[in-house]
Amino acid sequence: MKYLHLIWAALFRSKTRTFLTLLSVITAFLLFGMLDSVRVAFNSSANVAGYDRLITTSKLSITQSLPYRLQTQIEQVPGVAKASYATWFGGIYQDPKNFFPNFSVGPGYIELYPEYIIPPDQLKAFYATRNGAIVGEALAKQHGWKIGDTIPLQATIFPTKGSNNWEFKLVGIFKLAENSRKGEEKQLMFNWKYFDEANDFSKGQVHWYVVDLANANQSTQVARAIDALSDNSDHETKTQTEQAFNQAFFKQIGDIGLIVTSIMGAVFFTLVLLTGNTMAQAVRERIPELAVLKTIGFSNRSVLWLVLAEATLLVVLGGLIGLGIAAIVMPAVSAASMGLIQLPHMPSATWLVGIGLMLAIGIGVGLLPALRAMRLNIVDALAGR
C-alpha cells in the first residue's frame, strides 16, 4: 500500500497509452456486463427458487388440452395442497408485434403465485367481474392501461360467436418484487369461466394445471401420483416441477448460454492480448528505471509486485468503469428490446464474476512482464544491453 503513489505514477507514465488501454478494458467489461446479465436473466427465469409448484401438462404435447374434471381428482391426491388450471389464449393486442402471454385462469390460480403482489380488493374484483382481466405492472405501463379500461384482443385460436374480437375489462394490476423476474409482469390473465362459456369450440378443456405441494420434498411422489390418475387414458399427463418445465422450454429457444459464452470468450481473448501487450511495452520502456529502483535497494520481489500491481490496477479500474456503464445502460437496453430482456438492474452475480475476472486477467497479463522485471540484471539494464 505504501507504494501506491509509485504504482499510480508508473501507470500514467505514458498517458495516451494507458488511456487507450483503459478504454479497451472498459469496452470489454461493458460488453461482459451486458451479455452476462442476459445470461443470468435467462437462467434465473428457468430457476425459480423458493417456490415448490408442479406443472401438469398433456404428455402428448404442450399444445394438447386436458379435461377440466381432472381438477377435483388432482386435489384429492395426497400431498397436494391446492391446484388450479389455465388455458392458453394467445390473443393479439393491436399488432402481432405487441406479443405478450395471455391466458385464462381458474379460481385460485393467482393465489398459487404468492410472489405476484396484487391488492386484495382488486383480486376480489377480478373474480367478481365476468370479463375481468389482470395484467402486470410493466405491461400496463407499456400500453398506458389504467384500471377500468377495456382491452380488446384479437383471438388467434378461439373465436367467440364467429368473430375474433374479445374484450376484457382491466380490474387489477399485479407486480413482482424481484427484479430478475420483472419479465413476468408482461402477461394478462382473465377468468377461465368466461373463456369457457364465450369461446366457440373449446368446452371444459384446460392446457395446464398448477399444483401447490403440502411438503416441498414430496414433489417426485406427488408428480407420479398425479400422472397415475390418467394412465392409459386418452389424456395422459406429464407432471414436473415448475423449474424443470421452464428449463425445458428455455432450452428449446436455442442455446443462448453457449452463444453468449462464446462471444465473451472472443472478447476476452482480444482483451487479454491488448492489455498484455501494453504491459509488456510499458515494462520494456522502463527497463532503465526498474534497474534504478533495484539499485537503490528494492528487492527483486518488490519489483515483481510493483509491476503486477500496476497491471491489476489498470484492469480493475477499467473493469469497474465498464461494469458501471453497463449497469447504467442496461435499463435503456431493456426498454429497447421490447420486452425480450427485462433487466432494470445488473444482477449481483455479474458484479462478482466480473470482479473475479478483473483480478484474474490483471494477474494473468502482468505476470510475464513482472517476471521479466524481477529477473533484470542491474548492470545490463543500466547499460541498455
Binding site: L271, N277, L340
Partner: protein, 438 residues
C-alpha cells in the same frame, strides 16, 4: 493560437472521419473497387504517391520486428469480424431455411386471424368448398391440386441431452408430395395410407432419438413404425410426416390445420384471394407460402441482426483502441526514423499515407483471418430453435460471401480509424526535437 488551430484541425479530422465511415459502410463493391483503383493509380503515377509507397515499404519491412504489437491489431480485428459474421450467419441461415420452404406457386390457407398452423382450424366441410374456388390449379388427375393437412406438436427426446423437445408431426395426403417436389425420399419408402407409418425429415432424424428406419415409437398410445427418411433442404426437414387420416383418427381430430394449394398461373393467387373473400362461408386467410414462411423468419433474424451489430460495434470500438495504441507505439518507436525521412524531404502526406497503408494491411489481414475462422467453424453448423408453430426448426449457420465482404469492410473501417490519428501524429512530429531525442 497554434493550440487552438491544432484543436480545430483535430475536430475537422474527426468530422471528416465520421463522414468517411458512413460513406464507407454504404459503398457498394464497385465503389470500393473504384476507390482501390484510384489509390493504386495515385500511388504509382504521381510523385507524392511514389514517395508514399516508398515510405510504406520501409514501415512494412520493419513489421516482422514488431510482430507482437502488430499481432494485437490482427487478432483484435479478427475477433470483431469473426463474432459479427457468426451472429449474422445465424440469422441468415434461419431466414434462408424458411424462405426456401415457400414459393410463389403455392398458397397456404389458414383460419382467419391465425398466425401459424398450430392456431388454425379448417373443418372437413370447408375443404370441398375451398377446392371449388377459382385460382387453384388442376392436378394430373384433373382434380384441384390441394392438400389439407393436420399439424400436431409431439414430444420427442433429443439426442443431445435426452430432454423433451417439440417436434412437428404433419398429417398429409397423397397431394402433399406433388405440391412439394423438393421433398425427396432418401432412405426407405413413403408411408402407406391407412397404416401407422411415419417418414421423418433428415433434420429430425439427426436431432431426435429412435427415428431410424425400422424403429418403432409410441405416439398417443399407438405404435408407429418409421419407414422412410426424406430430405427437403428447408424447414420440412425438422418434421415427421404421416397419413392425415390415420393421424386424425389417432389424435381424435376431425379438423385440419391448413390447406396448401397449387396456384393456377400467374394471377392464380389474386383469383383465389378474391374468390375466398367472395364466399361468406369461408372465414379464412390465404397467403403465398413464400410470404407465409418469410414472415415467420422476420422476428428472429431481425433480432440477431441487431444484436450482432451492437455486439460487433462495441467490440469494434475496443479493437479501434487497440489499433490506436499499437500504431501510436509504432510511431513513437520509429520517431527518429520518421523525423529523418521528413528531414531528407518526405512531406507530410506520404508519411500519413505510409502509416495508414501499414495499418490497413494489418486490418485486412485481421478481417481475412476473422472471416476465415467464422467460415471454418460456423458454416453449416446446425442449431435449432422454437419456430412459430411451437415446434423445433433446424437450421444451419450460413456464412455467405456477402457477409464475409461485410466483415472485411468493418475490418478496413476499424483500420482506418485506428491508423489515422497515429499517422497524423507522425506527420506533425517536430523534426528537430525527434532527431535530438533518444
Amino acid at each position: 493560437m497554434s493550440r487552438m488551430k491544432k484543436w480545430l484541425g483535430n475536430l475537422g479530422v474527426v468530422l471528416a472521419l465520421i463522414a468517411g465511415l458512413v460513406a464507407w459502410t454504404m459503398l457498394p463493391w464497385y465503389g470500393v473497387l473504384a476507390v482501390l483503383v484510384a489509390l493504386v493509380l495515385w500511388l504509382l503515377l504521381t510523385r507524392t504517391g511514389r514517395l508514399a509507397l516508398e515510405a510504406a515499404k520501409i514501415g512494412i519491412a520493419s513489421l516482422p520486428q514488431r510482430w507482437g504489437p502488430s499481432a494485437v491489431i490482427v487478432v483484435g480485428i479478427a475477433g470483431v469480424v469473426g463474432v459479427l459474421v457468426a451472429m449474422l450467419a445465424m440469422g441468415a441461415g434461419f431466414e434462408a431455411t424458411l424462405k426456401q420452404t415457400g414459393n410463389d406457386q403455392t398458397a397456404i390457407i389458414l383460419r382467419g386471424g391465425s398466425q401459424a398452423e398450430t392456431n388454425s382450424v379448417i373443418t372437413r366441410d370447408q375443404v370441398p368448398l375451398i377446392s371449388s374456388l377459382a385460382g387453384i390449379a388442376k392436378g394430373p388427375d384433373g382434380r384441384p391440386a390441394l392438400s389439407p393437412e393436420l399439424s400436431q406438436v409431439v414430444n420427442m427426446v433429443t439426442k443431445a441431452d435426452h430432454t423433451d423437445a417439440n417436434a412437428q408431426l404433419r398429417g398429409v395426403g397423397e397431394a402433399a408430395w406433388t405440391l412439394r417436389p423438393q421433398v425427396k425420399i432418401i432412405e426407405g419408402r413413403k408411408f402407406n395410407p391407412g397404416m401407422r407409418e411415419l417418414v421423418v425429415g433428415q433434420g429430425a432424424k439427426k436431432q431426435y432419438v429412435n427415428l431410424e428406419v425400422g424403429k418403432q415409437l409410441e405416439l398417443a398410445n399407438q405404435v408407429w413404425t418409421v419407414v422412410g427418411v426424406f430430405a427437403s433442404g428447408d424447414s420440412h426437414d425438422s418434421e415427421l410426416w404421416a397419413d392425415a387420416d390415420t393421424l386424425g383418427a389417432t389424435y381424435r381430430r376431425n379438423a385440419f390445420q391448413s390447406v396448401t394449394a397449387k396456384l393456377d398461373g400467374k394471377d392464380g393467387f389474386k383469383k383465389l384471394k378474391a374468390a375466398m373473400a367472395a364466399d361468406p362461408r369461408l372465414k379464412l386467410d390465404v397467403d403465398t407460402t413464400r410470404h407465409y414462411y418469410a414472415k415467420q423468419s422476420e422476428g428472429l433474424s431481425k433480432f440477431l441482426k441487431i444484436l450482432g451489430t451492437i455486439i460487433g460495434g462495441i467490440m469494434a470500438v475496443g479493437a479501434v483502441f487497440g489499433a490506436l495504441n499499437t500504431m501510436y507505439a509504432a510511431v513513437a518507436g520509429r520517431a527518429r526514423e520518421i523525423a529523418t525521412m521528413r528531414a531528407i524531404g518526405f512531406r507530410g502526406l506520404p508519411v500519413v499515407v505510409a502509416v495508414m497503408l501499414e495499418t490497413m494491411l494489418l486490418a485486412l489481414l485481421g478481417g481475412l483471418v476473422g472471416g476465415a475462422i467464422a467460415w471454418l467453424i460456423f458454416n453449416g453448423y446446425s442449431v435449432s430453435t422454437l419456430g412459430n408453430n411451437f415446434s423445433q426448426v433446424m437450421f444451419q449457420f450460413k456464412v455467405s460471401p456477402e457477409l464475409l465482404w461485410n466483415g472485411l469492410k468493418w475490418a478496413l473501417g476499424i483500420g482506418l480509424v485506428g491508423g489515422l490519428f497515429p499517422a497524423l501524429r507522425a506527420a506533425r512530429l517536430p523534426v528537430t526535437e525527434a532527431l535530438r531525442a533518444a
